[in-house]
């Protein structure tokens, strides 16, 4: 489809597939609300469908019926390739110019110079841990979730750690191997040849013995940290924030091996029924207020640098805390493809999907 030429009147509604916590209307905490005012201003009623994994987002968009999706890098190009999203006309989004230069032409939403959406926010998969179990000393390595060991509280980590229930987590294992098994020659955790891939799977198989249940849903992970005795896991700042707000003995850290992360793009469905409202939302989503509020709520970094200053909720130190300066160290999610830049032939994503099911299943 051709991008919209000019902005028309709002259609009265817009529906968005989003990560939990990305689009808030003050229901959990009334200070965090960047929907109510938008609805009042534009007359576009916002409905949100939360998704827990990138695969789920792709499936929802394939099925249709939505206008926008906050797709991470491991979903965005698949959506483009599947022609589920349409190019956008950046002229209709006045705030486009305010976007962080590092993101303006990022590969996960730009193909052949054409933009397929507006950057939303980005962030890191931090290591969340229980401060009691670690005696207030932050673990400095991902080995606490990958290798069996006795934690500072004197008990084994077995059964007390979690891993993400999504195939993209294989990259976290690869990232860990980049430090601990340099001889494998992994350059990019999303581009693995057969040997590198096998090593990552082996690491994960070992991890299977430590993990009781994989985390799939942000809220359930929170529950597990509270009721199931989980003390360490890769996680999102979002959960860290919610748990600390509840005064749980929880903190997070950036381990030395580095970190994976996501940079999300608000993309427009090819058959969007409410394109005008969708454009209005994209513009709205780039306002420093929204960017700052989301970042404060979820623990992300805004895509609009202006949001780093003067946002009440995020505070002026928020961007730094959430990793503004670490942009280059974060290995952002992207879809593993057979043809890869670093070494030509790589293991494609569909194998990641089926093998990760196997790993969790005990294979």
């Amino acid at each position: 489809a051709e991008p919209l030429k000019e902005l028309g009147k709002g259609e009265g509604a817009v529906s968005i597939v989003a990560w939990a916590g990305y689009i808030e209307r003050g229901e959990t905490d009334k200070n965090y609300d960047w929907v109510t005012k938008f609805e009042a201003d534009t007359g576009c009623k916002v409905t949100v469908k939360t998704a827990a994994t990138s695969d789920e987002m792709v499936a929802l968009m394939n099925e249709g019926g939505f206008d926008l999706v906050t797709a991470s890098g491991d979903a965005s190009l698949r959506l483009v390739a599947g022609k589920r999203v349409q190019p956008i006309n950046t002229d209709l989004i006045p705030s486009w110019k305010t976007i962080d230069e590092r993101l303006q032409n990022a590969a996960w939403h730009t193909q052949d110079g054409v933009h397929y959406g507006t950057p939303y926010v980005w962030g890191a998969n931090v290591l969340m841990y229980n401060t009691d179990a670690f005696k207030d000393k932050a673990p400095d390595s991902w080995n606490v979730v990958f290798e069996e060991q006795t934690l500072p509280d004197g008990k084994s980590n077995s059964g007390r750690v979690q891993a993400y229930d999504g195939p993209i987590y294989i990259a976290d294992a690869a990232l860990y191997l980049m430090t601990h098994k340099p001889e494998l020659g992994i350059k990019d955790p999303y581009e693995l040849n057969e040997d590198q891939y096998k090593a990552a799977l082996d690491l994960l198989r070992g991890q299977r013995k430590l993990v009781g249940r994989y985390w799939h849903d942000a809220m359930i992970q929170i529950d597990d940290f509270k009721n199931e005795g989980i003390v360490a896991s890769g996680s999102w700042p979002f959960m860290v924030n919610l748990l600390t707000a509840e005064k749980a003995k929880i903190a997070s850290t950036f381990p030395k091996e580095g970190i994976t992360g996501w940079a999300d793009t608000t993309m427009l469905h090819v058959d969007s029924e409410h394109p005008n409202c969708a454009y209005m939302w994209m513009e709205h989503s780039l306002s420093p207020k929204v960017q700052g509020d989301v970042s404060a709520w979820f623990g992300t970094v805004p895509s609009v640098p202006a949001a780093c200053k003067g946002n009440e909720l995020l505070t002026d130190s928020g961007c730094a805390t959430n990793g503004y300066e670490h942009f280059d160290q974060i290995k952002f999610w992207k879809t593993p493809r057979a043809k890869c830049e670093s070494q030509g032939e790589c293991v494609p994503y569909h194998r990641w999907v089926s093998d990760y099911i196997g790993v969790i299943g005990g294979r």
Binding site: A20, G65, D217, M219, I220, K226
Partner: protein
């Protein structure tokens, strides 16, 4: 039953039966308990405090009412359809012999004998094949499909028990087909239909899986609960709703019991 008259149940049996009933009920009591907890984000044992505020909160939550409204609407219509289809099927099967009669009982049982997820994705893929948009009717379609069997089972059992000569007696006494249906058939299968209808309603009212696939973005009460339970805002609200549903349904269940007690079929067999 004659053999058991005057005989006491063996102690082991009593204990096993009692323990079984307890097993069925303790978790439900827990649901009740957590309708009164002061903690709202997640459950914790023992509950930190007691409050009745969640009843007021629930009352004032429009999303509860919306979901409830949709569920009642869906369950009512699905039950009505199931009553119609189930009765027709039962009447045809029990009043006449025809080729393929056996196949019909299989056909009716199939939607409940196959897991709900299969009914769900089958209907869903048919909807997408024919570009049928999700609506209340797509939910109803799914629910009515597996509800037919409970009505059918109750009605067939009653038809079997109701002597065929009653219908002949009525015709013999001068009543034509319609009069016979109104004055003899309907009153005789009435309580069975009521019991079957109640079960159908209950099945539909509590169905999650099929609804997930046929509901699109609409929230029936169970779908609302699922959302609430996974992404809790005020968890006890879910418990309040569940508890009220149990309490409100208590009377109809009891009524169904007394209505079908004389029959060979307790309301509920065949769910």
């Amino acid at each position: 039953m004659r053999s058991d008259r005057g005989h006491r149940a063996p102690l082991v049996l009593k204990i096993a039966a009692g323990a079984g009933l307890l097993f069925l009920h303790l978790p439900i009591l827990l649901i009740f308990v957590y309708a009164f907890t002061t903690e709202e984000k997640s459950y914790q044992w023992p509950p930190p405090g007691f409050t009745t505020q969640w009843f007021a909160v629930t009352w004032n939550r429009p999303d509860v009412w919306q979901a409830l409204g949709l569920s009642v609407q869906v369950a009512t219509i699905a039950t009505a359809i199931a009553l119609l289809l189930g009765t027709l099927c039962a009447a045809a099967v029990s009043q006449t012999k025809f080729f393929g009669r056996e196949a019909i009982s299989l056909l009716v049982i199939l939607p409940i004998a196959l897991p709900g997820i299969i009914t769900g994705i089958a209907l869903r893929s048919a909807f997408s094949l024919f570009d049928i948009p999700f609506s209340v009717w797509t939910i109803i379609l799914g629910h009515a499909t597996f509800c037919v069997v409970v009505v059918y089972n109750n009605a067939v059992a009653r038809f079997r028990r109701t002597s065929g000569s009653l219908i002949e007696a009525s015709m013999d006494l001068g009543a034509d087909g319609f009069q016979t249906f109104r004055h003899v058939v309907l009153p005789n299968i009435g309580t069975a239909l009521l019991a079957g209808g109640m079960l159908a309603f209950a099945l539909s009212f509590d169905e999650v899986i099929v609804t997930t696939f046929t509901g699109g973005q609409q929230s029936t009460l169970p779908i609302w609960m699922l959302e609430e339970l996974i992404r809790p805002r005020q968890r006890p609200v879910t418990n309040v709703v569940a508890m009220v549903v149990v309490l409100v349904t208590f009377l109809p269940i009891l009524a169904a019991y007394y209505l079908t007690r004389d029959g060979d079929q307790v309301a509920g067999s065949g769910k």
